[in-house]
Symmetry: C2
Subunit: 189 residues, 2 copies
């Protein structure tokens, strides 16, 4: 097995700097190239040997999770915070739009939300529950189609990321997220 990535001993100063740089470069590489980027390529872009990067992150997945998991956890936290907002309609659609806004520019984030690769099951569950709460409140307020389930909203989110990402790349004037959110609203309102 590799090294102790669990202990409490503080890193040496240079190792600390290098670790930070790896995270920084990995973040950029993942945003533009997605989860399929290779470990070797990240090490190369950061200017380190692969051994160095593996010293800090025992596995490719560990590095990717270090970069991305926090962002998804924040999405969950946002959803929870909005679960008690005064306007349930705004809460659901503002959350949806915010996630799309922040994730559609990051290929790896889209990949992870879509495939669930590298997401602990508990995190997926948390996301699902938080979204379901937002949805139910919006439905009770008559602001969202009553036949939708929480999982439907998540799948629409994943689809929306694909659409919005492409639309942005070509400078579309219409936001796909507006179109899709509109579809989630009640029809004959």
């Amino acid at each position: 097995m590799g090294d102790d990535h669990s202990s409490a001993r503080p890193l040496r100063a240079d190792a600390r700097r290098n670790r930070e740089r790896v995270l920084q470069i990995a973040q950029e590489a993942l945003a533009s190239d997605g989860l399929t980027i290779s470990f070797d390529e990240i090490a190369r872009r950061a200017g380190f040997g692969v051994g160095t990067v593996y010293r800090h992150f025992p596995t490719k997945e560990a590095l990717f999770e270090a970069v991305l998991l926090g962002r998804i956890e924040r999405f969950v936290a946002d959803a929870r915070a909005l679960a008690t907002a005064e306007d349930p309609e705004k809460a659901l659609f503002a959350w949806f739009a915010k996630v799309v806004e922040q994730a559609s520019g990051n290929q790896a984030l889209c990949d992870m939300l879509d495939s669930g690769a590298g997401m602990r099951v508990s995190l997926q569950d948390d996301l699902g529950r938080a979204v379901a709460r937002l949805l139910v409140r919006a439905q009770r307020a008559g602001a969202a189609r009553g036949d939708l389930a929480g999982e439907d909203v998540l799948d629409l989110l994943r689809g929306c990321l694909v659409a919005e990402r492409r639309a942005r790349a070509r400078g579309a004037s219409v936001r796909m997220v507006d179109v899709i959110c509109d579809g989630m609203r009640v029809k004959g309102a």
Copy 2:
């Protein structure tokens, strides 16, 4: 270079059978595993050596195109046929739903529509033009949002494929395509 895949000489009977079997297996493998499936794996599932498969299809892309391109060409043909339908609203949304219906169950078809990998530029253009025609007519009839462009519809289609595919996999009762098409309609109708 490999063999003549262009001449007019008829294939030997056994080669013909084998070619058909390769296409059949490749079709199934692509539908379930998508464009990332390996050539070796397809040969293995078909029960042939890789050399045999390469004899019939000079490249991985050639095989994939042989399986998939016809389906996409049919989508284009459908769109063209509907360009003169009497009900422009139905024409656009029925076409959209039909493509989603037929492609969402086929991973490779979704991949190809999304990435354009292996699609001649002319085919992409044909698709874009045909969709734009359907859209413009629907807009003139007041059935689709006036601020949408042809490319928007294509991007929404790609997103819809992602959403619908997942929704189907878990047996959702709501069709994502209905939600998204509803979003493309005019709001205060």
